[in-house]
Symmetry: C2
Subunit: 417 residues, 2 copies
Amino acid sequence: MKYVLGAKCVKCGREYAAVPDLTTCACGGILDIQYDYAAIRRDCSPRDLEGNPDRSMWRYRPFLPVEETTAPPPLRVGWSPLYKADRLAEELGLKTLYIKDDGLNPTASLKDRASAMAVAKAKEAGADTIACSSTGNAASSLAGNAAAAGFATYIFVPSRAPKGKVAQLRIFGATVISVDGSYEDTFELSKAAIDKWGWYNCNAAINPYLSEGKKTVTLEIMEQLGWQVPDYIALSVGDGCTIAGAWKGLKDLYAAGFIEKLPRLIAVQAEGCCPLNRAIQTGQPWQPMEENTLADSIAVGVPRNPDKALNAIRESEGVAVNVSDEEILAAMRLLGRTQGVFGEPAGVTGTAGVKKALELGLIPPDSTVASIVTGNGLKDVANGIKAAGEPMLVRPDMEALLAAFAAHHITPVERNH
Amino acid sequence: MKYVLGAKCVKCGREYAAVPDLTTCACGGILDIQYDYAAIRRDCSPRDLEGNPDRSMWRYRPFLPVEETTAPPPLRVGWSPLYKADRLAEELGLKTLYIKDDGLNPTASLKDRASAMAVAKAKEAGADTIACSSTGNAASSLAGNAAAAGFATYIFVPSRAPKGKVAQLRIFGATVISVDGSYEDTFELSKAAIDKWGWYNCNAAINPYLSEGKKTVTLEIMEQLGWQVPDYIALSVGDGCTIAGAWKGLKDLYAAGFIEKLPRLIAVQAEGCCPLNRAIQTGQPWQPMEENTLADSIAVGVPRNPDKALNAIRESEGVAVNVSDEEILAAMRLLGRTQGVFGEPAGVTGTAGVKKALELGLIPPDSTVASIVTGNGLKDVANGIKAAGEPMLVRPDMEALLAAFAAHHITPVERNH
């Protein structure tokens, strides 16, 4: 880890050596991994990166806190596609829009970036068992990445987690504890169990390496844009760890001289659960909220990483925007119909926020925006059907088909041959 | 299309010009695209390919029947990971096993390779509407790839198609006709409608370009293996189009001098629906069967591409092996637990067949096998849960957790700090 200086508490500033099983500061504050940016700048350039044939998050090794001897974990994580979404931009009345489909990671969410990092660090720590709590995606992601690397896993999820995520967990061989309570309850139970049995701790906002994995999403966006910084990067916010990681990646690139300015973040939460955005919007300290949204991955009433998340939004002069569940379902249809991208509710919340921010005049129409889709819609098929409706059912004959088309006001055009 | 000579009927040998809206031969036979392999050999080498930075199926342009001026369709299809599956190989008692996870394509199945090709050809044909029938994956794949490229789609699926696939279709904005009947009924209704309205025809085994897209899966496997040919390539078989495409890719590489020999195919069908394997096993012409398996994507009682499929299995001196639904569910667990790969039932059927072929002594344990996982398990969560079971539900306190662990005979080891 020749570029890693150590870890520093974001609350009290106390510094720690970057041992592989780091958790939080003695004061309870979250740690942040520190790099020697002058050395990175001296040794690496964007050109060096571009020549790297590795199309995974591990192409960014100079920016990652792993030992030089640590092999990349088995599953291929990262280098998800960044689509120029002209058809969607036009519908939204936005100059330029890019969609980063992070639902195409191995377990179908951005969380694979954190899990791959966790697996690498758990191996360095000599652990054989990994545990975490999660609203769902971090859980199934950790289970998959850990299974591929031969770890046992104990996973705590709230019982409301969608069936797709639970099915993944079970298939990956995890011991799954479905907690009959809120995400907060789930987190606390996992904490007690981890303390009791000494498992490698992969709770977000406890393990400081996870956001170092997540930050690769913005490293990729910037490389895929040829290091041309967009005006805004939009993403959904729950726990706060993902936006904190995204911002860390951007600041790393800026500090190492890879990009010349920083974009502004568009932080999007669900109206029914927006404790962090409410803090930004009111200028008051954050307060817990109910978890009242169908976007399960960001239904986090007590965010575990408020300090880093609020700091990221403020430091970037970010835009905080809340969207309704109806706006989230509409964004699912919009991304599917115009771009062929199927995101889960929390996955498309960032894009729903771009639409809303334009409507509210919070961002100008001549902006360039990159919006991250954080999870695949196949994880939550029930809400997919809710968004898009059931198909028409017909008997297998032409008469029935014509009747069904008539009933649905569908009049296909005959093509001249 | 400087390397494309034309199309030739596999039944009567009649030749056609490779126009973009080609369908079947006047005799009813399926067409096969013909290439000038000597010219490919003259102009291209494996080394040229390896230097191509395009990590998608379009890196194989010399082997693809598209105009030089045709842009790749929007979604990034192909270059899915090939994992060396040492942990699974060890459990199976097999020397070397590779798993190709084609569930990581944009709409989560191998069918994206065919759909991307279809979209490219539909554009060349000047079409604005595309239609197909499918057991599910080809449908949702076509809908997604076509939506991203701005086409309207009419999609016919049997009503038994899993919810995940239907949700995708609807989100992608397709007009979905859910047919209350078998796959055969669905196919016939789509055929009648395509004839009536003149839509661009993307039915597999009708449109000869689709298997040219599918063949990229074996082009990739061979490149990812450094052009070292494995003893066997295993995959599930339904309609017959995928195995036909896979074989075409291998023969193309062989004819162009990129590989020095051909592997043998392991063709795997479900016991409850194995008309093609039964023909191989009995030496009799194929006969329709009931569609009696939970692996919906390969529940094809009347395969549309028997000629090419049977030819592929026979020409490769292939192994035909049938697996039960229980063996398919077991393979889902096995791939998840050992490799972190979650496949749908038909997706893991190839791997179930590798296990069965070993058990039956049909392939030697010192073989090298590449097994293709053709679709993501998130498409069929109901069967995922069926395979792996529900998680334990606990109240959010340690006492309840200890009781649940005891009830499930789980005794975590305390780690010494």
